[in-house]
């Protein structure tokens, strides 16, 4: 056993990289990704109301993808997960897959509530689908008074 092990469960001393260049490189990557995100955000802001729905949605999805990329860099390099051995990476990453169904099911049901509310349990036509400005039902009521 080498003398610089931090704990008895560790059987091999990890070698630490000596330079800080990788850290700074990651910093610049994160900054660049953030700037691109901001750019897309401003794009949505300036073109607000003029873009087709599909383009708005895909821009938002692109921003979400960039966020995931940022998360990857933070976890993999700043938190050194990428340097850990494969066993550990898998036990961290695999349980996070639960989030896929967690998110999908919740949002799916949220959208179902919107339909139930807009159609009053399916008993009247959904007006928001035909109106140009989508409005919150509560606001709709207030506005009429």
């Amino acid at each position: 056993m080498s003398s610089n092990l931090t704990s008895p469960e560790i059987t091999y001393a990890p070698e630490h990289a000596s330079g800080t260049s990788r850290i700074w490189k990651t910093f610049w990557v994160l900054s660049a990704l953030t700037v691109i995100e901001l750019g897309l955000g401003y794009f949505l802001y300036w073109k607000h109301g003029q873009l087709p729905y599909a383009l708005t949605l895909s821009t938002k999805l692109l921003i979400a993808a960039l966020t995931l990329a940022k998360a990857y860099y933070i976890v993999s390099i700043f938190m050194h997960l990428g340097d850990e051995i494969r066993n550990m990476i898998m036990t961290i990453v695999v349980p996070l897959m639960l989030f896929i169904w967690f998110i999908a099911a919740f949002l799916w049901d949220g959208n179902a509530w919107k339909n139930l509310r807009n159609t009053d349990g399916g008993s009247r036509p959904d007006k928001t689908k035909t109106e140009q400005h989508q409005q919150h039902p509560a606001v709709d009521k207030d506005a009429k008074k």
Binding site: T6, E15, F27
Partner: protein
């Protein structure tokens, strides 16, 4: 740190050693962060669910367009970008502190820990300013046919759809849940930043007192660093959910 020193045919799972070549403390910290990710995940997914269940949501570019000392200038996304960079930068200083720790360089650790703590405090200051600005703001809202001045709180949301009123566009009340989720989630994140600052302060003091030199390793700094990066990671998603889309 490269792992080339480790033979590839090691039987990691056979007992008598960690299957991850990591100390119990680090493994525990990772799993704690994973469970905390589920807490934050639940908050953000609830927020998304409610957002999906209403027809209108507040437009972030309209809500977050202020900057300290900039008066009423319309600067969407500017202030939150500053906050984001502060947090990214404090992450970098944290990882540099960990790096110095590996080299057993006490002075270096101290320097970068101080910078990280300052970054955390700066972020908290920004958040305090933003909250105050939102709560005390007065936005014209058309309520029951009359114009009222509202700030954004957990019970009032002045960021509803716009309507024409006496010849000009005014806002109507928006979904109340917006304020609850915004203050709830950023508050919970702020609480994490705050506790991270406290942890880092303790680590700084322990470093100064030479505890880690005595112990022969700076693993505690590494664990505190994991927590700090996690706070940054959460912010990345908060930034996405509340400010960008």
């Amino acid at each position: 740190m490269s792992t080339t020193a480790i033979p590839t045919n090691t039987k990691w799972w056979n007992g008598g050693r960690s299957p991850f070549n990591a100390s119990y403390g680090k493994v525990m910290m990772w799993y704690f962060l994973m469970s905390d990710a589920f807490t934050f995940g639940a908050f953000l997914i609830s927020y998304g669910t409610i957002r999906f269940s209403v027809n209108h949501w507040a437009d972030p570019n309209e809500v977050f367009n202020a900057f300290p000392f900039a008066g009423h200038a319309n600067l969407p996304l500017a202030f939150v970008s500053l906050m984001t960079f502060i947090l990214i930068f404090s992450s970098v200083t944290m990882v540099l502190a960990v790096h110095e720790g590996h080299k057993m360089n006490r002075k270096g650790v101290e320097k970068y820990m101080i910078l990280t703590i300052l970054g955390g405090l700066a972020f908290l200051g920004c958040q305090a300013w933003e909250w105050t600005h939102m709560i005390t703001g007065d936005h014209a809202v058309l309520v029951n046919g009359e114009i009222e001045k509202w700030g954004t709180t957990v019970t009032k949301n002045p960021w509803g759809p716009h309507v024409m009123h006496e010849g000009q566009m005014v806002s109507t009340p928006g979904p109340i849940a917006f304020g609850g989720y915004f203050f709830g989630i950023t508050g919970f994140h702020g609480f994490h930043v705050f506790s991270g600052v406290i942890i880092n302060l303790v680590m700084l003091i322990k470093t100064r007192m030479g505890h880690f030199d005595q112990r022969g390793h700076y693993e505690m700094i590494e664990k505190a660093g994991l927590y700090w990066h996690f706070v940054d990671l959460v912010w990345v998603f908060v930034f996405l959910c509340f400010y960008l889309v």
